[in-house]
């Protein structure tokens, strides 16, 4: 696979300083649009295993040869496709993760990540930085019943699926026998469902807005665990958790809120756990410098634009929240080959 070479190297002792990286950043939005468009045109299905020329692909996509040629070239430049004498073909990356026929395809995440409700906020980024919070109404993406979470549940599952087995293993740690698990902000439900799959005596309660839980329940059905899957519709801050639980999952959730709100929620989680029970968060956890590794650190910008006070919290801050809420033995488990870390505390 070719190296995506559109990103100019930063200047070093050997390379002279040029403004190329500035030009490239100011055009970076093209990369988002190009990949989104290729997915919308079903380009990655149209590409066969033999190289295809622009006209053939254009016909399959009901598009123009000029448009397809320039789009495909752009995707080659960015390392997504390959080009050779006979035309364009899949790279291992596109065949694995973008061809809708691949079981590992994540193409659906484009719908959530380029959702106008999320992406259009960047038009207001200057005002957002001035104000220090989202310019969306109310609490932004976590406003009650925000329909984007149905879309998240429907489209982001392929990105989360590889994380479920590691999370299940860390939470269960060989634990078998009857157990009750609460999955807060269940979304697609995959994390709770994985626990139910790994432990046939586990009963899982998914908590989320009712329209979101319909997606989770459908996934539970597909996995054959719906008889052990209960639904608790509503807000994590308002509904009675019930319990006691042996484990509580808090995946992709704490980052939406400020520290006092997170501590309050963790206290409520603590109160719903049996003594010795575990709370496990799945988070983007940057290093203490907040600028590395790049993916978890950059996630803070998404929280700036879409929430009132959320953040990508480093481990020291997550640990402090857990401790303040009464948890002990807080441990961090980075998931290999992913930007996510599991942080776990014991009640």
């Amino acid at each position: 696979m070719p190296t995506p070479p559109i990103h100019p190297e930063p200047a070093t002792a050997e390379a002279p300083l040029t403004p190329a990286i500035i030009f490239e950043m100011l055009q970076a939005h093209q990369r988002t649009a190009a990949l989104k468009t290729a997915i919308e045109l079903d380009l990655f299905r149209a590409l066969g295993h033999e190289p295809g020329d622009a006209s053939t692909i254009a016909q399959a996509c009901s598009a123009s040869p000029r448009g397809i040629r320039i789009l495909c070239d752009f995707l080659v430049i960015n390392g997504v496709l390959a080009k050779e004498a006979g035309g364009y073909r899949h790279t291992p990356l596109s065949a694995t993760f973008l061809d809708p026929r691949s079981p590992a395809s994540v193409a659906s995440i484009a719908r959530f990540l380029t959702n106008p409700a999320m992406q259009d906020t960047y038009k207001n980024l200057t005002d957002i930085v001035r104000a220090g919070r989202t310019t969306m109404e109310g609490d932004g993406s976590v406003e009650p019943e925000n329909p984007i979470w149905v879309q998240f549940a429907e489209t982001m599952a392929p990105m989360m699926a590889p994380l479920t087995a590691p999370l299940g293993a860390v939470v269960l740690e060989g634990h078998s026998g009857p157990m009750r698990v609460l999955d807060i902000a269940a979304g697609h439900g995959l994390f709770g469902i994985e626990i139910a799959k790994q432990n046939p005596q586990a009963r899982v309660t998914g908590l989320d807005w009712a329209p979101v839980l319909r997606v989770a329940l459908e996934n539970a059905r597909r996995s054959g665990v719906e008889d052990r899957y209960n639904m608790l519709p509503g807000s994590a801050f308002d509904v009675d958790f019930g319990g006691p639980y042996d484990a509580v999952l808090l995946t992709n959730f704490l980052h939406h809120f400020d520290q006092p709100t997170c501590v309050g929620l963790l206290k409520k989680v603590h109160a719903a756990l049996r003594p010795g029970g575990r709370a496990a968060t799945l988070e983007f956890v940057p290093n203490e410098d907040r600028v590395s590794p790049p993916m978890p650190a950059a996630f803070a910008l998404t929280m700036l634009t879409s929430t009132a006070a959320g953040d990508a919290y480093p481990l020291s801050e997550l640990s402090a929240m857990y401790a303040e809420a009464g948890f002990k033995d807080v441990t961090a488990h980075p998931i290999p080959m992913s930007p996510h870390t599991i942080v776990m505390g014991t009640a």
Copy 2:
């Protein structure tokens, strides 16, 4: 300067295949917005030579500490700023090319490159690829009197300034004495002005829309060559060029049009040159594969979204156009440390 590490490496024999690059591309629009916002907030002026913390910078930018902290961290992740214990500071890149106090600052290019008239077209990219042409009205960016070209002239000059000396040297090649030069699509006028500066006996005629030429004339005044600078307002396709000229400049222009249109214009240029006179184009010229080098090759996408039939033409195609228009001795002169190439033909 730190390597911008947000771009995941493509998979190699050593690195496992992950969808990180897909996630990154779908979020790449954030990089454009972040740099644009930092420029709008005058962040690069607010940064001193000593590290400054988020609160201090926020005060200087009339912004919030949370917003500035997350924005600055994002710029560090992308290799634009540096962060150390005491706070944020300039990198050589930002001090040279983004601080408005630097004579080499290119910060103004953000206004043209993120102009909503240009950037918003990417919302329609799927329709554009289907149609094979811009969805802007008429001929898109080259519609008569399109106001974006005044903005281009006003803001893109710093990006073009380093190219003027190489272009002047190639066109003049030691030629001194009286000469007449026509600068088609003069814009900021810097290329023609450079010829007038290098040869005190050169007279330059700038051709562009009248409101654009006002910017060129102001630049000619600043350079002290206004007494040898004439204006020819109108469309390059419609106005009488006059002549004969010793040299004609066609900078950043041919890429907007299809090949027959380019050939027609080059014939008109040929007719306006004295025998042995030179036509010099400044262009993004990709290799014959149309996918390298990345910057000139990727420029084709800008032509797809903003024109009816423009392109980033490889040298074989530009040479063929020149030949068809009657030019001989066509030569290419890549400008070092820039994505631009000068292509020159002799009448």
